[in-house]
Symmetry: C2
Subunit: 220 residues, 2 copies
């Protein structure tokens, strides 16, 4: 077996948006709105989790959604179909939301009428990790089809998140996904990470997720 | 139903690496090496496709791999296990490979001994789209678990690729993936896109992929 050569490449990424994120955070705190920044690879199930959540908590909590996508308003239309207010941000070439874009969307939102504000970031397990939008916390989704080593390979995202939601667990019987290895990788990157395992298709594991959101709003 | 508000956010991404990519391209052409830049979301199956390809073409073609990851040498170890030479590039915080990193890896590679050089980019459906590494072509993978609308939502990647490989088709019976919608989205973004549908788990569709690689080497 040939030993791989390893070259380290360092690169700085500029963070100029922290001040604006602090402004967003202060505004959200003042109005008592819990803002959650949903981050993951493309297709991990962020929009499906939102559809499930909005449908199941719609009678209890006042919610709105900011949708980040490079192109299309597909996701915003899926959210709007649940009857919840949604603002679509099309980032064009940009690979993540930033605090300035978020501010523009917040300005379109009636915060006084809200308990929970979901921000669905651009599908990207790398770049959104470094950008504070002013959210209460980042919630990182990982679908079981992506493989168990993603928390180790993209550690910044799972380190900067407070919650990991492992999605699509209904597919586990058809995959070689090693759940205990995944949880071990995640725990090594972020020992404080709170984890949910669920499938919005079957509903398995979803009640714990909904209870978690209810508790967040209650604490706010 | 509430109509979503749409805000357009424009952002420039700098491209300073085109000159160096041209240098890489000239060097690869001079030595008759076909370099393929594999791009996709995290967990779409780039490494699995490489393992399958290296194992099945190892007696016919001389191949090497450059592995791009933020962290870990997991993928490089998987490739090395096939007996093929591999250079791991750890990009740390960077969200894509660039021509300079690629140059450093090429310098570690014996091009005269090669037919095919695979470059496995960082798992990211956004940022690698804008970076020319000097490759012969970009090959974009999309796993059926990610949903059929990804070519529309991340159009730059599928526009800049010459080939789309739809992976994990063995999972189709367990998903609500609309293949014809996917091909329609992809065709609208890039009418010239060549498409392969395959599963490296069952081998279905893989012979067409291997024939495509053989033909690329023959033409070089």
């Amino acid at each position: 077996m040939i030993k791989p050569k390893v070259i380290k490449v360092k690169k700085d990424i500029l963070h100029k948006n922290n001040e604006l994120a602090a402004t967003n955070r202060a505004l959200l705190a003042k109005t008592g709105v819990v803002a959650l920044n949903l981050v993951s690879s493309p297709g991990s199930g962020k929009t499906s989790l939102l559809e499930f959540t909005l449908t199941n908590l719609g009678r209890e909590l006042k919610m709105a959604v900011i949708e980040g996508d490079q192109q299309t308003d597909n996701d915003a239309r899926r959210i709007a179909a649940t009857g919840v207010a949604v603002v679509q941000l099309n980032t064009q070439s940009a690979c993540h939301l930033d605090a300035a874009m978020t501010k523009r969307a917040i300005d379109e939102t009636d915060l006084d009428a809200l308990d929970l504000l979901f921000i669905e970031n651009v599908g990207n397990l790398v770049c959104p990790a470094g950008y504070d939008l002013g959210e209460r916390m980042k919630i990182a989704l990982l679908s079981v089809t992506e493989g168990e080593d993603k928390p180790a390979k993209y550690p910044k995202m799972f380190r900067n998140a407070e919650v990991m939601v492992i999605t699509k667990i209904d597919l586990l019987p058809y995959l070689d996904f090693d759940m205990s290895a995944c949880l071990d990788y995640a725990g090594r990157v972020n020992p404080d990470l709170k984890v949910f395992l669920l499938s919005t298709k079957t509903g398995e594991g979803c009640s714990a997720w909904l209870d978690f959101l209810r508790a967040l709003v209650k604490e706010a």
